[in-house]
Amino acid sequence: MHLQIADVSKSFGYGARTKEVLRQVSFAVNSGEFVALVGSSGSGKSTVLRLIAGLERPSAGSIRMDGRPLSAPGSDRGMVFQKYSLYPWLTAAQNVAFGMELQGRPRAEIRERTGYFLEVVGLADAARRLPRELSGGMQQRVAIARALAAEPQVLLLDEPFGALDIQIRESMQEFLHNLWRRTGLTALLITHDLEEALLLAGTVHILAPAPGRIVRSVTVDLDRSSMAHLRVSRPFLDLREELAQCLRGLEPALVA
């Protein structure tokens, strides 16, 4: 699977009130890769994801998957949102089954895959619980299971842990990394948290704001066998500091 974003630009509004959100963004995601886009709010990173998901159309440029242009949303690109992820009237299991039911899969297959993906995200005993009975981290895990159960080619994650406490966020980052290792899924992560990107992704693109554009791309080749060690290891901290300075340089000065 090869997802190519080529010279994509996006503006909202028209005439004098046009707002240029993205300018000529180009990058690619291949099968099995974990790519991250890092930027502050206003850098258009959510817009990039929404364009790939097909929820918006680019003003210029093209987005192609295996050469085929993308225009509408589809189950080949699964998405996990930051909030309002789960359907509150459905149990965890029913949420996971939701996409598969839309796809019209047979009952037995849905039941089996639901059980499998709940197990993969570690929530097999929470199957019959409603979302309000689950913690924020558990809800996001169910949302990830639901997206994966529909068999997407790529998983799009829009700041999935942004609404969670920092401790939960750290354990969720570890969870996502292990999930990626275990299932070989392809992921595109949007985050304002540079550390999160460096912990999880093999390729990190830094976006500058207003208008959003990629200013730096880094291949991250760190030893991820232990997340806890990685967070405090020298190469990680050096890389983080280097990129953090780059990000700081992109921010407009707060003091005139």
């Binding site: 189950s75 949302a143 997206a147």
Partner: protein
């Protein structure tokens, strides 16, 4: 003492105490003879009027006639408001087309339509049922439209990224999400429907609770008027409680 406090905290106790206090005040006022029996009949007189009408079968016949009119009129209004409201909530074009018109008609007082309805449709059931429809349809539609507009867009977009198309999304995402609000809309507007049926009957009917009140008025039977009002209020309250119970059962997730 703690057991009294616990009793007072029970949901219905204070409400019942309030009603009993009013009844007591009413009884004391009439028993003291300081008010003309015509202006304020005693609770006993009202009760006896009720017994008379129940015994003759009149009360039941009137109540059933009024309830039937409300039921038919409101069912039409609620049934049509659902698809129209959902359509207006999902399509900005249709919303912009219809909302100003509905907003205008909504402010026209429904009882003002009564003479027109009588001219067009005569004096039997249809104009009364239509009055209830006119009086509640626009409120129902606009409130349902608002409920649809407030569905979090992430819920809809999730379904789209799972491969959902428009109709399945309406049925499997929008409808379950707005269900509690739709029921609440119906509960609230049912009160208007109930008021309207009585108003319609005050003007033109052969039986019904409103008709009974207008007859009682002609003969200055204030005890029967009071009784009629209390019965109307009680039926309305029961309908309200019925809706609340339905909401609790059908939309347990929203509580």
């Amino acid at each position: 003492m703690p057991s009294l406090q616990r009793l007072l905290r029970h949901p219905w106790v204070l409400g019942i105490l309030g009603i009993l206090a009013v009844l007591l005040l009413w009884w004391i006022t009439t028993a003291s003879g300081s008010v003309n029996k015509l202006f304020l009949p005693s609770p006993q007189a009202v009760w006896q009027a009720g017994q008379r009408q129940w015994g003759s079968g009149l009360l039941l016949k009137d109540a059933l006639a009024s309830i039937q009119r409300v039921f038919i009129g409101f069912a039409m209004s609620a049934g049509l408001a659902l698809p129209v409201g959902i359509t207006m909530g999902t399509s900005p074009v249709i919303c912009r087309l219809l909302e100003p018109l509905m907003g205008l008609i909504r402010y026209m007082p429904a009882p003002a339509f009564i003479p027109l309805l009588i001219i067009y449709f005569g004096l039997d059931e249809l104009p009364k049922v239509l009055l209830i429809f006119i009086g509640t349809f626009f409120f129902n539609t606009l409130m349902i439209m608002d409920a649809v507009k407030f569905v979090p867009r992430e819920l809809v977009e999730t379904a789209r990224t799972l491969g959902g198309r428009t109709l399945p999304i309406l049925l499997k995402v929008v409808a379950p999400f707005i269900a509690p609000q739709v029921l609440d809309t119906y509960r609230i507007n049912m009160a208007s429907a109930w008021n309207l049926v009585i108003v319609a009957e005050l003007m033109a009917a052969t039986e019904g609770l409103g008709k009974r009140i207008s007859l009682a008025q002609r003969f200055l039977r204030t005890d029967e008027i009071f009784m009629g009002l209390i019965v109307i209020g009680l039926i309305g309250l029961l309908i309200d409680l019925g809706f609340r119970a339905l909401m609790r059962r059908a939309c347990a997730w929203a509580n």
